[in-house]
Amino acid sequence: MSTQTLWQKMKNNGIVGVLAVVVAGIILTAFLWWFFGGFGFWTLPGILLLFVGVAETLSRAYIAVADKKSTTLRMGLVVLFVGLAGYITFAGHVLLGILQMLSIAIAVIGILVFIIGIVRPKT
């Protein structure tokens, strides 16, 4: 399978729009980081956008490589990365333990769904 074909397949799956989301996430994170003076819970919107974009990119890469769709895997990735986004923005704040726990719970659910998506892909 050539790279060109992989990229073409990803392009057909809307990877350009997804990358735009990633770029928007990076820009929003950078802005929030600059505006509020550092990294913390206030950067959550940007990180969330960025990570959802990453999850979607991975999902599309999988679709292109495997040449079949897996909505379960895609959902698993999105949930995992939403959990990760929450965790990394809350982890530096000692008072946000509950939110850290919730984020990790979401990430674990995402991992489980992701594994199910790998083992029993639902197309």
């Binding site: 505006f35 509020f36 003076g37 550092g38 990294f39 913390g40 819970f41 206030w42 990570f51 990453v54 991975l58 890469a61 999988y62 490589v65 495997a66 990735l77 995992l80 990365f81 990760l84 965790y87 990394i88 982890a91 530096g92 704040h93 000692v94 008072l95 946000l96 333990g97 509950i98 850290q100 726990m101 790998i118 083992v119």
Partner: protein, 681 residues
Amino acid sequence: MNRLTRTKTTILVAFAIAVIGFSLFLTNDISSQDGQPRTYIIPMEDWVHNDDVGAVRLINILLEEGVPVYWALEPFTVGGTTYPAGTFYVNAPFATRSGISCDATMDWFMWQAKINRVWRVDVTTETFTVRSKQLVLPRVAMFYDTSTYENALVHYLRFRSLGFKVVLANARDIYSKSWNQSGSVLSQANVFVMPGGALHLWSFPYGNRRTWGIANITEFVKNGGGYVGVCAGATESLMGSPWTNLGLVNASYHNEWFDYPYPWQGDWDWRQLIGPMYIEVEESDHPVMFGYGANAARPGYGPKTTVYYYGGPAMYDVGYNATILAKYSGPVTQKITEKVSNILGEAAIISADYYSGKAVLFGPHPEWPGPGARLYAQALYYVANIPKPSRLEPNTSVPVPSMISADRVGKITSTVSQIKPILEETTRTAAKIVNMRAGDHYHPLGLWYDESVLAYSKELHNQLNEIQRAAVKFQYEYFKLNVLENMVGNDPESLQLINYAKAMINSFFNLTENLPSEPHSIDETDWTGAGPFEPFEPEDEATTFEDFVSIFQYINNETSAALYPYAKDYSKLFAEYERLRIQNETAYTPEVNATLADLYMNITSSWPAGPLYKGMYTFRHTLNIMQYKIDYHLLNLLTVADRTSEVISCVEFALAIKVGSWNYALAEMQAFLAYPSGPFV
């Protein structure tokens, strides 16, 4: 799983691990400080990122915790950034009063900064030298007596927003004990604030007690105390005042405005100036004026700023010990008549030295909403020079209870629930009275106090809500502290902090159960002959929070049975006067003029008292009860509640660092299960 799938999975997992690694890298960016020397700089002029009121509030909490905070008195440059005079900074490391580590304190500060809209705090390891003042936390004693009206309330609200903990001082507090006598209000303060209102020295009983009161205030300032006077509070510190005065500042003011040659005319002119006034800064390098003037960065702070004006002194002949900081530049939209046009260019804000003490006088009102808040905070920082301990420290030697019982909280919540419908009725009646439009502050015949009753009704509602919220939340926090106590084991530092926070919470509840006595007596009649009112006896006064129900019922009855009918009759007289006044202006005849003069003289007669004075003192009867027998206690409770909240916030942050965020979360969850409404009230 075939080979291709395994490869794909490996790639995806590797990518995910890379993202998680990146995440941990980001997370480390906001980890705790490392104990290295560093300076935290709060750029006050960065108005996009930083709210200056929020910044001052946080600085006051730091000062309360014993953190040395410095106030740059000149511009300085660090790391390529130039900070103007007036910038606050904190040098770490330092030792705190309660023993909480420097790093934990500053982590907590950075957290508080983010949730209080102080988004930019510059941290540098670069050392620098700048002429600075180490701030002394202003311990404010504010005059709160018959002449302060609701302006004392407006002051309190402004001080509260800025995080200053105020002691309410009535005339008896001032004259009954010497300024330096242990336990006196002035001995525990380093700043005395005279708000606006009437001339307050009239609140002191004539004779020795007034003399002692004046001597105590002047000696307090002479020996290093600070004095901040606003409006009437500024007027009566002037040597040039024709009335009894404190003689702190060598200046006069335009008191001729308040004379009028024809008694039936009334003093219209100065009233037309009520409203926002442009202030031109004369001394932008003076600490009180930092951030204001020609080079002001914040919108509305310069080149001219606006401060609310309400007939305060326009000062002139400013003498040897005083500096003019700002002058009146003109009203924003108000009418300025010939009689009061000499306000333009006269001193609006003055700073003065009085022996070892300092005074700042404001003609206009910096406590009102607008850009004056920082001005007021800076005046307090400028005049506060002698460190004084907090009056709100709890007695930690007395054992604290194992829990805050449901009964203790229930008494507060059920009392508030009983009061609210009564207060709502009072507020509706007060609004009806105001809508009769006979209270106009711009009019010499305006009843004036009707708006005060409405303002108090509204504010009492807010305060009751806040006290109820505090009670419920404190019960929840107390339980959480118990859980944390079990988590920290035998760590003496943590146990001491927990005990301190619990004692503070307990002191709040103790205050609701043992309200201090308040010295004012509520007469059945007054000098105007108004009344007789239903007696308000000493046994009617509140000694516990639950007693407020009957007092609220009392003022509700009085508002509907005495104030409403009076206002109704007065509004007819007021309307008749207005009709004749307009007729006199548009179709003058000697007869109409004579009728108008007679009516005016009749309404405003001071002895025997006419309807205006009788009405004002009828309203004052209700206001006295609202102000002294209710709000005095509620404001004291709010002060303790605010300080308690600060202590809880700081202590719990330190404990969270000690036990870790997940253990802290477990404590939160246990407390939530025990008191679900706690964190959400």
